[in-house]
Amino acid sequence: MLQSKSFVRKTKGGKVLKVVREHYLRDDIYCGASFCKACDSSTARLSSTAATILIVDTNVVLNQIDLLENPAIDDVVVLSVVLEEVKNKNLGVYNRVRALCSNSMRKFFVFSNEYHKDTYVKAMAGESPNDRNDRGNGGSAIRVAAQWYQNHLGQGTHVLLITNDKENKRKATEEGIFAETVESYVKSLGLPGLLDLLVHPSSEDVGMEDVEDLRPLKRKVIYTEHKPMSEITSGLHRGIYHQGKLRVNRYNPFEAYVGSESIGDEIIVYGRANMNRAFDGDIVAVELLPQDQRHEKSLSIADEEDEEEEDVHLAPSSADAAPRVTNLVQGSAGDINPLSSRPSGRVVGIIKRNWHSYCGSLEPMPMPAGNGGVAHALFVSKDRRIPKIRIQTRQLGNLLDKRIIVAVDSWDCLSRYPSGHYVRTIGEIGDRDTESEVVLIENDIDARPFSSQVLACLPPLPWSVSSPDLANPIRQDLRHLCVFSVDPPDIADVTNFVHPGTPLDDEAAQRGTSVYLVERRIDMLPKPLTEDICSLRADVERLAFSVIWEMTPEAEIISTRYTKSVIKSCAALSYVEAQARMDDSRLMDQVTTDLRNMNALAKMMRLRRIARGALTLASAEVKFQIDTETHDPLDIGMYQIREANQMVEELMLAANVSVAEKILKHFPLCSLLRRHPSPTKEILEPLLRTAAAVGIDLDVTSSKALADSLDRAVGDDPYFNKLIRILVTRCMTQAVYFCSGDLSPPEFFHYGLAAALYTHFTSPIRRYADVIVHRLLAASLGIYKLPDIFQDRAQLTSISDNLNYRHRNAQMASRASVELHTVIYFRKRPTDTEARIVKIRSNGFIVFVPKYGIEGPVYLMARGEKGGGEWLVDEQQQKVKKIDGSISYGVLQTVRIHMEVVEPQPNRPKLQLTLDQGHVA
């Protein structure tokens, strides 16, 4: 039992409530240098040969984190006071610097200076405001710590304080501490490439001598000044400003939405001027615009900046991936539309930035002459929601045809674009590997190989079912039964191998899901598990987690039982194989009869589910055939859905529902479930209008009503019903995971499946949600105890948030990968095909190409003359007509189009759709 040596009371006067906290100072906080004789070096991180030890101040960490992450920078001491300040200012940077500190490959050491008896600096009363600012940047505490290090380590070691704060540097020098600016230090390293990583200091900091302003005389105010924080706070308080997260429309970067709790609605922000330098994901304060200004704003979007062209993209499969309703058409039609009643506003201040680094490329530009090799370039992010970013580089020639990563540093109201700095190069534009990596980075997907710590958690190979497994009373021996699998290697007993709290579990929890790209798969769990131990292969004994139903011939469930089991699969079939067996009337073996029986049951279950109101949705999933050598796509086609798929789907749904009921009964507050919210009226509105235009009346009052009206929606051609279903599907929002304690039972409802309860149990190998559900189920059977984490509802909620985030990203990445391969495929294959019009625009229409599952604009006239000219839009009828009435196009109509990859700018290939004029259907 240790006692602290001495303590000081630190008094912090918050509001009127006086808070008093104890603060213990210690003498057992070590310097972290492994060569130090005086300190315990068991936790030391600084290298034994370190001649120079860097101490960085708060702003250096906040602004130069990309530099710090570069392996050229090492032997860095991060003070706890600096960490604390970084944490308060930017959690993202905090997590990154924390990762550096815990990375065993790097030499970053956290020194808890605030608890060390010799480096503790008391907040002094009566400090001048200047000193206080200083303190807000590590300030005097950082100098005291630097001094201590120098004295502690002696003259053999060079302790260097890195600060861009003029005042701090001056004081440090006065106090006899070596101090340098970031730039001068980086220069002294003699690695010019590192200089690109630097963030340009703001004017208050020590100037960089060779930085000159590009347009010193022409600077004019482009954006309104942000309001000071105090004014924002009081404005929020008084209800004249509204706080919320800004979401930029993925398909129209000039339109953003701020979900505001204070007015219980989304506020629309039109145009860059009103967005006022806010990025997607920033927490902003918004002021509502008066009614009369709203309409005008919506019309002026196009004039504001060179409008970006819409790309051909993969047809969305849900509302989350679909473009938001743009007001272009409605605006010009000028009639009262339901959207104009939604409030619109402008950003007056940014409460919290969501800046991080972005993937993209530089805008093509000629090489500048002279200028000491430093060029200013504009970076265009792959993510269209992000504005162009101005960067400085010394390697322009090198970067022009590359995909690079750039981080944002600042955006002042004098410049049209934010400024940032180069972080690293990914590879050549258009190269498949590069672009795939871009997809992964953009979607925050960790595709690194599993670490040795993670792999150490795996059981030794070759693995087989052992006698203790068989003897375990919790495990039922089902080897005598005829068990076989169809397609998914499912419901293996993954949690028998993935134990809570292990690095393996942490990694899986972080990844959340396996990610499927066209040419590769990024596994959530290491290969030995996914492809061997947890793969229920034929004729091998495997551990499984089974749900056993007893059913009547009418597919009524009599009883449900859950058990861990040992099985020996007699066949592992693919969907195609299973279908073939069922269809081949000559086969009468056990497996095939079982398949047929099961299919019969599944069909009954399916009918019942549909009768309950479950929606039969459709999506335009495509499948690539990939060249095994070059990994280039050879063919694209729609994914074919067989009866076998539906059978497996039905049984999995039933298993998931059963498990959901079981775990919720046992753990009403900490179960992980999946819900699907009903689509809102607003989201369905455009669909209803489209349907109405072709004479179909969709009843959306309930999922049952919608299912019935979809059944009735039959058109002239066989594809029509499927098309309508596809359009409905893309109006649905994604189902999401949630913690049962966070919501009330009516909110648990799964709209699409018309199920009161639902969860994911069936794919623990590729979804972490299923791993959690397995643990819950095992605990509800009393065979394992519930891990601690389930006690902590906040943590459980954050897990489900992460799962939703990862799933969304995984889907986005899959889509992006398909889009990428579509472009690669059509690069050598200009194609004519059939397409369906899904939306009318003032200058053309959007078509959907069923065969390839893509969608994109077809322009009827050259850009720039939209709205006018010879074409008229009929909003009511959803038609666009030539003025003389000779040609008209209506929604859902079939047209012939030509698809070709063009390269309007070097290194920027894109797929273009044009109307095949001669073939109007």
Binding site: V19, V20, K122, A125, R132, S234, H237
Partner: protein, 290 residues
């Protein structure tokens, strides 16, 4: 509650008559006074005062409040005394309530002036922030930890010491006034206002035992009193409040005489207390920044 034998009673009374009290003091001598400030760190000001075995704590807490509409330019002060059962088993449960109420009322009378706040020991207008809208409400809470007579003087001293120890955060009023008319008030984290406590009176209680009166009576002595007069007197020698307790009647001339004695004693007490408070503050400063 103090059970004394007849002999003991005589001994106490006799001692007082001969100006040699049972603990060796003269009639007008105080016991040793010990002051400690900042004893309750969470309070905005606090002090502990010990007079012999009497031990009391006074604390001051400031909260933002709305001024009384009749005195829009003044803050408010309320004062409560609690008698902890640690001081005497009779204070257990609701047993201390009567005495607590009596002490609170007397202290209010002696220190806070009349209903309109005039004559209060501290300048109530210094508590005003925005006239008619926002002011400081001071809550003075006292606790009797140990009781051996003369609680009133000790409490008065503790409050005086606690007030000198009090720092109230500096307040900035935002220019903009919100729609409900309530001004936005920004409370400073680092700068504090100190009160001018030079005007806070001390309380001198003269306890009449037999024909004589004594100051700073112990509880044994108090059990022999016929009546007691508590006078609160400020540095200028002005009388700020007066309370007579005890059943026996007093001749007005005796009351006047007692007041003049109290006035005389108060000068010494104020000086003694001021130097103790200063010493305590210095001591706290040292340990606080050490």
């Amino acid at each position: 509650m103090v059970g004394l034998s007849v002999g003991e009673k005589h001994f106490i009374q006799g001692g007082i008559a001969q100006d040699l009290r049972s603990d060796g003091r003269k009639r007008l001598t105080y016991r040793h006074i010990q002051v400690e400030t900042g004893v309750i760190p969470q309070a905005d000001g606090s002090a502990r005062v010990k007079m012999g075995a009497t031990d009391v704590i006074g604390s001051v807490k400031a909260e933002l409040g709305k001024p009384n509409p009749l005195q829009p330019d003044k803050g408010k002060v309320s004062l409560y005394v609690d008698c902890s059962p640690t001081a005497a088993p009779m204070f257990e449960g609701r047993g201390g309530e009567e005495l607590s109420t009596e002490l609170s009322a007397t202290l209010q009378r002696c220190l806070l002036g009349g209903k309109n706040g005039a004559g209060a020991g501290i300048d109530l207008s210094s508590l005003s922030i925005v006239e008619g809208k926002v002011c400081w409400d001071l809550y003075i809470d006292c606790l009797v930890v140990s009781s051996d007579g003369n609680l009133l003087d000790a409490l008065g001293a503790a409050i005086k010491a606690a007030l000198s120890n009090t720092g109230i955060p500096k307040v900035q009023v935002a220019a903009a006034v919100s729609s409900d008319g309530q001004p936005e008030v920004d409370v400073s984290d680092e700068e504090f206002l100190q009160f001018d406590t030079s005007g806070v009176p001390v309380i001198v209680t003269l306890t009449k035992v037999g024909r004589h009166y004594i100051v700073d009576a112990t509880s044994e002595e108090e059990s022999q009193m016929s009546s007691a007069v508590s006078v609160s007197i400020n540095r200028e020698g002005r009388i700020c409040g007066l309370t007579k307790r005890g059943g026996a009647g007093l001749d007005p001339s005796i009351v006047l005489d007692m007041i003049s004695v109290a006035k005389h004693v108060s000068e010494q007490l104020i000086n003694k207390l001021d130097s103790e408070i200063a010493a305590a503050e210095a001591c706290e400063e040292e340990s606080g920044h050490g």
